[in-house]
């Protein structure tokens, strides 16, 4: 009884919702990446690995140069490189895209631990100075609005960037020529090819974009929310993003709604000190929600028709 009361009490605090949005954004970036990749017909479950790689290289670059912007760029590049591996393997060599994705995730986990030992010795990479972190920005004026000001206008810079990217992704996918072509390639690559669209170029572009976005999310995690890198610090968020993408029926705003739900679970867990429920139980919350979603309780969602199918030119 008191536990429910605690949660209800928690739900009316602005802190909780501020944390929810931040946690949701962390998931939203790779979810947008996955949406773009799968809309072009390449199944991408490698967001976890791309995020983790981005987080590591973001921290490493920030420790070296003390510049969060440069570090974020490096993180995105690292994510994009991992994505390129997935692209070459699954587009060029038509390998199984699930297997390739799993391989990248395992590879990323191993690579980052290996590099920690190589570069920094042992397990500790050291901490990034406060001044070299991605800054929190309070929007002048708006941040003073009661409740909403704290939730929406006292956030990390990446949160604002991600919200812009959310709108941008939606517009590109559903309002532009490029988006029409991306979706055409994901639905029926033969039709796109015969219409003179370069299927391979679109797919490469889409997969690499998913790497850039996942890398950005990794940077947000490591040098925005945290200030260091620890092994496996993404903690399955790439997979939760995958669930959000499916939950969102492969649309940016749908994915955002899903991310908010998962983010809320995360935020409740993070604030568990004031709830009298075992933190171990609460820590299951985001994953439990993911399982429920993936088990299809939210209704069947239909992926792009050619999702996961390699394109062989001239085939039927």
């Amino acid at each position: 009884m008191s536990a429910i009361g605690d949660i209800l009490h928690l739900l009316i605090t602005a802190n909780l919702w501020q944390a929810t949005l931040a946690a949701a954004i962390l998931l939203l970036l790779p979810a947008l990446g996955g949406t773009i990749s799968e809309r072009s017909g390449v199944v991408n479950i490698a967001m976890e690995g791309m995020m983790l790689t981005g987080a590591f290289f973001g921290v490493a670059a920030d420790l070296a140069w003390h510049n969060p912007w440069l570090a974020t760029g490096v993180a995105m590049l690292a994510g994009a490189l991992m994505a390129m591996v997935h692209a070459v393997v699954s587009i060029q060599f038509r390998a199984d895209q699930i297997v390739s994705g799993i391989a990248i995730n395992i590879f990323a986990a191993g690579l980052t631990v290996f590099l920690i030992n190589r570069i920094y010795g042992l397990q500790d990479v050291g901490h990034v100075d406060q001044s070299a972190l991605l800054p929190n920005i309070n929007v002048p004026g708006l941040d003073q609005i009661p409740f909403l000001g704290k939730v929406f206008f006292q956030q990390n810079v990446i949160v604002y960037v991600a919200l812009v990217l959310l709108v941008l992704t939606h517009l590109v996918l559903f309002r532009t020529r490029l988006g029409l072509r991306i979706r055409a390639v994901g639905e029926h690559p033969q039709a796109a090819d015969t219409a003179g669209i370069n299927v391979f170029a679109i797919r490469y572009g889409a997969v690499v974009t998913s790497g850039l976005l996942s890398g950005l999310s990794g940077a947000f995690l490591a040098i925005g929310i945290s200030n260091t890198f620890v092994p496996n610090m993404t903690d399955g968020r790439g997979y939760i993003a995958l669930a959000a993408m499916i939950f969102g029926k492969w649309t940016p705003f749908g994915a955002f709604v899903a991310c908010l739900i998962f983010g809320l679970g995360q935020a409740i867990y993070d604030n568990n000190s004031i709830i009298h429920i075992s933190p171990y139980l609460l820590s299951m919350l985001p994953y439990l929600l993911t399982l429920i979603v993936l088990a299809g309780l939210v209704g069947r969602s239909i992926p792009p028709a050619a999702d996961g199918l390699p394109y062989v030119p001239g085939s039927e």
Partner: protein, 523 residues
């Protein structure tokens, strides 16, 4: 060569080797400007490869291509489009979840601002095109909601939008009703009048004779004949295509119908989408006759066959096999009762593609005492002998019975199914699309087998999308429309009348009325 100025397309010495197959062997092919040129040949003759080369989807090993007299390099569809070549593919290159407009525009979309898709301009461009060529289309309809005839029309408009002067149509009538085919031909004639050149790929000889000016015949990767349409006939083309004289008409004696084998009464069933597809079909099938079901695909024929075969559950009505109620029997029990089924989807439900011919030849009968010991251990020797017998008897062309059926040609795959189903001397044979995608030579053979079964006293129910096949093979024709048998006609009923009945016209009874054929089905 002296006529070069008048040639829209000239392909010289085209050779293309695929692993294990010489798809095109020194092929010379030329099309005059403003003509309808038919390219005919059996499956695997190399027609599609040749056209894919012309459209840039496949690159030849050697040979050259001239468009309007100029040598060109075609590296991809973009180059082909740039040269004014457009292709309407056999399997439509359409995206069902996109609108008609988006499908037509794809690849050459009008844009506004940074890169925004300009719906208004797209709509205007389509309206102009459809008006100029008299091809009415709603640009905002969802493509997947349109009937195939209109989808094909969208494909043609798509090609015209790209400024094509040379149109390649790959088996364009395969999915059309007779009326839709007629409409298509009218459109094609108009296009030629408007200065377009058309290459028409087909294996339906009647159509080729009706629509084309000249004909090129291919067999096994080579051009084996150039014909002028008005100076040739079906037999000559068929002989060139197959390489031997072919019997185009089915040679059969009048049926000697016996007692009622299947009595179907008010049968209803749902489609895969759980909507009623079979809405009260009633008919009788007698021993020793072939009853053909004519109908536009998707009017409940597939569901009817599956219910009769026991692979789909009926929602109402009754099926009597020689007086015994078999409505709710599963496939296995039906087989035991003597019902054999040639399913329409040979690769999906007819065969296990990765299994050998021998294994496929006993599918569904693997538990019978002939092929197994106590339903449990396969009797490999018996299976082997059985498969060898079928391969010989049904002329299945294969190096051995251990070959995976995946590696057989479509015609030989179909023969495996036909052999398996007919090989057990069934009482009732359900044949759905028994010759779809099968070569003329194999069609002739399968038709003979079906007629032989009838003459042996079996009751045959035939469903085919090819009206010609239904008319030539059947002893009676039942027309199916919207899940009901709307009429029973003699096989020599004019195509026009059948076409009308198939689309809900003619003397078809209105909703709810019981069908009564001219032959008086009610015994």
């Amino acid at each position: 060569m002296n006529e070069q100025a008048g040639l829209a397309v000239e392909m010289r010495g085209i050779t293309k080797q695929f692993p294990g197959v010489l798809a095109n062997n020194e092929v010379d092919f030329s099309v005059r400007r403003g003509e309808i040129h038919a390219l005919v040949g059996e499956n695997g003759a190399g027609k599609s490869t040749l056209m894919n080369i012309l459209y840039g989807l496949v690159h030849p090993d050697s040979g050259e291509i001239l468009i309007n007299g100029k040598t060109v390099q075609i590296a991809g569809p973009r180059d082909a489009i740039g040269l004014g070549i457009g292709m309407v593919h056999q399997h439509f290159m359409l995206i069902p979840v996109f609108s008609v407009g988006e499908n037509i525009m794809l690849g050459r979309e009008p844009a506004t601002g940074p890169d925004f898709y300009d719906r208004a301009r797209a709509r205007k461009a389509i309206a102009e095109l459809t008006k100029r060529y008299g091809l009415a289309l709603d640009p905002d309809a969802r493509m997947g909601d349109l009937p195939v005839g209109l989808q094909q029309r969208a494909e043609i408009v798509k090609v015209l939008y790209r400024g094509a002067d040379i149109l390649i149509l790959d088996e364009p009538t395969g999915v059309l009703t007779p009326q839709e085919s007629k409409d298509l031909f009218a459109v094609l004639r108009d296009l030629v009048k408007g200065g377009k050149t058309i290459i028409f790929i087909s294996h339906k000889l009647k159509e080729v004779l009706e629509i084309s000016d000249r004909i090129t015949v291919m067999r096994r990767g080579k051009v084996v004949g150039h014909l002028i349409t008005k100076d040739t006939n079906e037999e000559e083309i068929a002989t060139l295509m197959v390489g031997r004289a072919v019997l185009l008409r089915v040679d059969k004696s009048p049926a000697k119908p016996g007692g009622v084998a299947l009595a179907v009464e008010n049968l209803t069933a749902n489609s895969d989408q759980s909507v009623p597809a079979l809405k009260g079909a009633s008919f009788e099938l007698r021993y020793g006759e072939i009853l053909g079901i004519a109908g536009v695909e998707g009017n409940g024929q597939s569901e009817l066959m599956e219910v009769l075969a026991g692979t789909r559950r009926a929602t109402g009505g009754q099926v009597l096999l020689a007086g015994r109620d078999i409505t709710t029997m599963d496939a296995n029990t039906e087989r035991d009762a003597g019902v054999a089924f040639i399913p329409e989807d040979r690769r999906g439900t007819g065969l296990v593609l990765s299994f050998s011919i021998a294994e496929n030849s006993i599918l569904g009968r693997e538990r019978t005492p002939t092929f197994s010991w106590r339903h449990f251990v396969l009797n490999l020797i018996a299976i082997r002998n059985w498969a060898l017998k079928l391969v010989k008897e049904f002329d299945i062309r294969t190096p051995s019975i251990e070959v995976a059926v995946r590696n057989l040609s479509g015609g030989n795959q179909q023969k495996v199914i036909v052999a398996r189903e007919i090989g057990t001397n069934p009482k009732v044979l359900l044949a759905a699309q028994p010759t779809r995608g099968v070569d003329i030579g194999a069609i002739e053979f399968i038709h003979r087998q079906i007629v032989r079964e009838r003459d042996n006293g079996a009751a045959v129910l035939l469903v085919s999308a090819e009206l010609d096949e239904v008319r030539s093979l059947s002893d009676r024709v039942a027309v199916m429309y919207e899940g009901r048998i709307v009429s029973i006609e003699p096989p020599d009923t004019p195509e026009e009348r059948l076409g009308l009945l198939m689309t809900g016209g003619g003397s078809s009874p209105s909703m709810g009325r019981r069908p009564a054929g001219p032959e008086g089905l009610e015994a």
